[in-house]
């Protein structure tokens, strides 16, 4: 099953052939295996994607190839043949010759992978010099400019002297791609190269990477957690789960006919694919119907089918009064926020309009999604509604009450009824407080009940978010990302709020966990009549959770409509771009 057959026949020799690779991490309790017997074959010029959730061993496999394993990591068995060389037998010194020169590497997070204290030019030039591509100051500099221009930095010659913090995330990733391809390697390892970026930026960068590697003839080993993205970008797909390959083969085949239960769950949970499935259902275009996909979830007991969840949610919300008749929970009118930023020039302060006359309303018990890329102002709007930032002008009405003048006691009461859940489940929980205290803290702050009643409420909340009771004495670092986000949701629900502001609440989670949390949110909404304001950059998620969508761009709402309208007949060019950028949207799935 794990064999990747070469369709071009036996004439071509594989560029990379991994056989029974084993990687372990040395700990005090012995060696913990991270990769347990991985086989894969990559032909010259081909693209292969490894898909899996965090902890599946996909990144470890990639790092093992060029021996970039962190401290306690060791290859404990198997072989890695690259271009006729056995890489596992290479010394550190010999490996330096392979890295950069023969195998390029593009890391995951552009924010942390450039040294902040050296200029961009310096970091590109040292790569060129180390790999012996050019010598002499001028030649190296010219080559660096050329490399960066190829990677899509048009004004590279002017920006060489700038530092990483003066570049946007997308620009930094272009720099890293430029570095990775600077010596025209035969193989490029791209480890989640765009998962930290906005969808539209992601699309542009991946398109560019594809063109570049095709022109140079570089084979690409693409690591990602996004099945849709993988299928769109790679001919061959390898699905990893707990250190093993569970399924491998041509991308389209796997997507249309997943055999392994884990792959089936992934296919069912991937929001990018799910939203497309819903879309194809409502658009009623039979040629696009993915009927083959639909049997997948039924064969797996544990799976969360997003479409089913979304339909269920829709049914529940429509049981109440129809959407139009519900009273508005949040009404935002002409909300504007202007920041003064210190200018680079001669003491000139310039103004940044983060939110420009934003108006929308959210009906009670419904979900409105605020969608946009980073910098579009969506989080600023959320912060103002939560009264964490003061608006420059405009008004916010919560249940008909203007919240702007509230101070002290009434403000505290407002906070009680409106709770936030933030993006990073690692950063938003205090590592020194146990789960029970974390969830119970709002009750304490607002002096609700006594010790025993608070404890009861905490247990009730744990039950509501489907966490075991014994977690009450555990600490955040003992929990997984999904569990932490459940804790954050439980904390938000502690005071029985009417409104929950979810600021990128599922963006940092693996797809399967993401699907579970989305399902949980939908269930809770039906049960508790909650109103959600859902802030996200990911349109794919919106489809399964939101009733209405407001698309934001540069501080303005450019399009506001019901979810179906936005997906089926987007009016604005920008919305269309966002929709097209959803990974997997471009796959033509002929059945």
């Amino acid at each position: 099953m794990t064999d990747v057959t070469n369709q071009n026949g036996a004439a071509q020799k594989p560029l990379l052939e991994i056989k029974d690779l084993q990687v372990g991490f040395k700990t005090t309790e012995g060696v913990v295996p991270a990769v347990r017997g991985v086989d894969l074959t990559l032909m010259p010029g081909q693209t292969l994607a490894i898909v899996g959730e965090s902890g599946s061993g996909k990144s470890t496999t990639a790092h093992a190839i060029i021996n970039l394993l962190p401290g306690p990591g060791r290859i404990t068995g198997g072989s890695i043949m690259f271009d006729g060389q056995e890489l596992t037998s290479f010394s550190q010194k010999k490996m330096e010759e392979v890295r950069g020169r023969q195998i390029g590497f593009v890391p995951q997070d552009p924010m942390s992978n450039l040294n902040p204290v050296w200029s961009i030019g310096f970091q590109v030039e040292e790569t060129i010099r180390a790999n012996g591509i050019a010598t002499g100051r001028k030649a190296v500099r010219e080559h660096a400019i050329q490399v960066l221009k190829e990677a899509g930095l048009a004004d590279a010659d002017k920006r060489l002297k700038q530092f990483p913090h003066q570049f946007s995330g997308g620009m930094r990733q272009r720099v890293l791609i430029g570095i990775g391809l600077s010596s025209r390697p035969k193989l490029l390892i791209a480890d989640e190269p765009t998962s930290a970026l906005d969808v539209t930026v992601q699309r542009k960068i991946l398109d560019h990477l594809e063109t570049l590697t095709r022109d140079i003839g570089t084979a690409v080993l693409f690591i990602t957690h996004d099945l849709g993205l993988a299928a769109e970008r790679a001919e061959q797909l390898v699905v990893m789960y707990k250190g093993r390959i569970v399924e491998a083969g041509p991308s389209k085949e796997i997507l249309q006919n997943p055999v392994h239960p884990y792959t089936q769950r992934l296919v069912a949970a991937a929001p990018s694919l799910a939203s497309r499935r819903i879309q194809s259902g409502t658009a009623a275009t039979p040629t696009h119907a993915l009927s083959d996909l639909d049997y997948a979830p039924t064969t797996v007991t544990e799976s969360v089918d997003l479409i089913a969840a979304a339909e269920e949610r829709l049914e529940q919300t429509s049981q109440g009064p129809s959407l139009e008749k519900r009273p508005d929970a949040i009404v935002v009118k002409d909300l504007t926020k202007v920041y003064n930023i210190r200018g680079q020039g001669k003491g000139k302060a310039s103004e940044l309009v983060a939110s420009d006359n934003v108006s929308f309303s959210v009906a009670k018990g419904t979900t409105t999604a605020l969608v946009g890329e980073s910098g579009s102002g969506k989080s600023t709007v959320a912060k103002m509604i939560l009264r964490l930032e003061d608006p420059t002008s405009g008004s916010i009405m919560i249940d008909g009450v203007d919240v702007a003048p509230l101070k002290g006691r009434p403000l505290l009461d407002l906070r009680r009824r409106m709770q936030p859940v933030f993006q990073d489940p690692y950063g938003s929980l205090d590592p020194l407080r146990n789960i029970g205290n974390t969830i119970g803290e709002p009750l304490q702050v607002h002096k609700v009940g006594d010790r025993t009643s608070r404890r009861e409420r905490v247990l009730e909340l744990l039950d509501q978010v489907a966490l075991p009771e014994n977690l009450i004495t555990r600490y955040p670092n003992e929990l997984s990302g999904g569990q932490r986000q459940r804790v954050a949701i439980a904390r938000a629900l502690a005071l029985k709020p009417d409104i929950v502001v979810l600021d990128e609440a599922v963006s940092a989670l693996d797809v399967l966990v993401q699907a579970q949390i989305l399902k949980l949110l939908a269930d809770l909404q039906a049960e508790l009549e909650l109103t959600y304001l859902f802030i996200t950059h990911d349109l794919a998620v919106v489809r399964v959770i939101a009733d209405n969508v407001c698309v934001m761009q540069r501080g303005r709402i450019v399009e506001a409509a019901s979810t179906d309208q936005v997906f089926d007949s987007p009016q604005e060019q920008y919305t269309k771009e966002l929709l097209n950028a959803i990974p997997g949207a471009g796959i033509t799935l002929g059945v």
Partner: protein, 309 residues
Amino acid sequence: MAGYIFRRLLQALPVLVGTTFLIYFMVFAMPGDPLLALFGDKTPNPAVLERLREQYHLDQPFIVQYFLYLGGIFRGDFGTSFSGEPVTEILARTFPVTIRLALMALFIEFVLGVLIGLISGLRKGKLFDASALVISLILISLPIFVIAFVAQFIFGIQLGWARTTVSAGAPIQDLILPAFVLASITFAQIVRLTRSSVIETQSLDFVRTAYGKGLSRRRIIPVHILRNSLIPVVTYAATDFGVLLVGATVTEGIFNVPGVGRTLYQAIIRGEGPTVVSFVTVMVLIYLVVNLVVDLLYGLLDPRIRYVK
């Protein structure tokens, strides 16, 4: 840049006024009559006493004394000591010696501390690292005068490598041993700080990427690990300069170095307001300048906090 330095120096003014006032007040509040103490067991002539009192403004209320002194400072007059020598002359005689000693100590602690800390961090858990940690812990736990006496005994008396006391004029070769002793405490701190900073930097993503780019370890260590690790160390070394000046008082006493420490100690015992305050003022000034230099250095090491305007 010039504007930034000017602003920083302006900020130093209130700090200077505040510290001089505090020190002046504390010397004033010390019990006993400084003039009577000067005469020891002898009973002084009341007329002489009266004249001295007038000369040193000791008959005035505290606040008047303070402003007379402050006014003097702005005219470049730091007053005179009880021995009749202008304080400016004492400053000019003693400060170069102490600054030489402190700079030598700073050099030793920084170069050796960073080097040993770097090796320790790169070989975490190995024998070198373990020994460096134990030795630095011993140095931190021991009071400086114990280290001074032990060093005097071993290197001065047993081995005869260095003089136990510093000769007149404080030549550099005589100051080597006191400088090592003075550096010892902060040296241990710098070893530990550099070590932990190197360990942290080593695990950062951009270091892995640097390996991925095909750079050799020999290049990555100085360029990508050491430079980034130095940022917290440099910050520490700045605040640490004050510790050096304090440590100098003890070290100078033991090694008989004719520097600030010894003179200041004697002036405090005698309750000589102007001398004590002048010394402290100059020390504060040095401290502020060192901090400014370090802040500028910090911007050089880390472009993210380079000062605009």
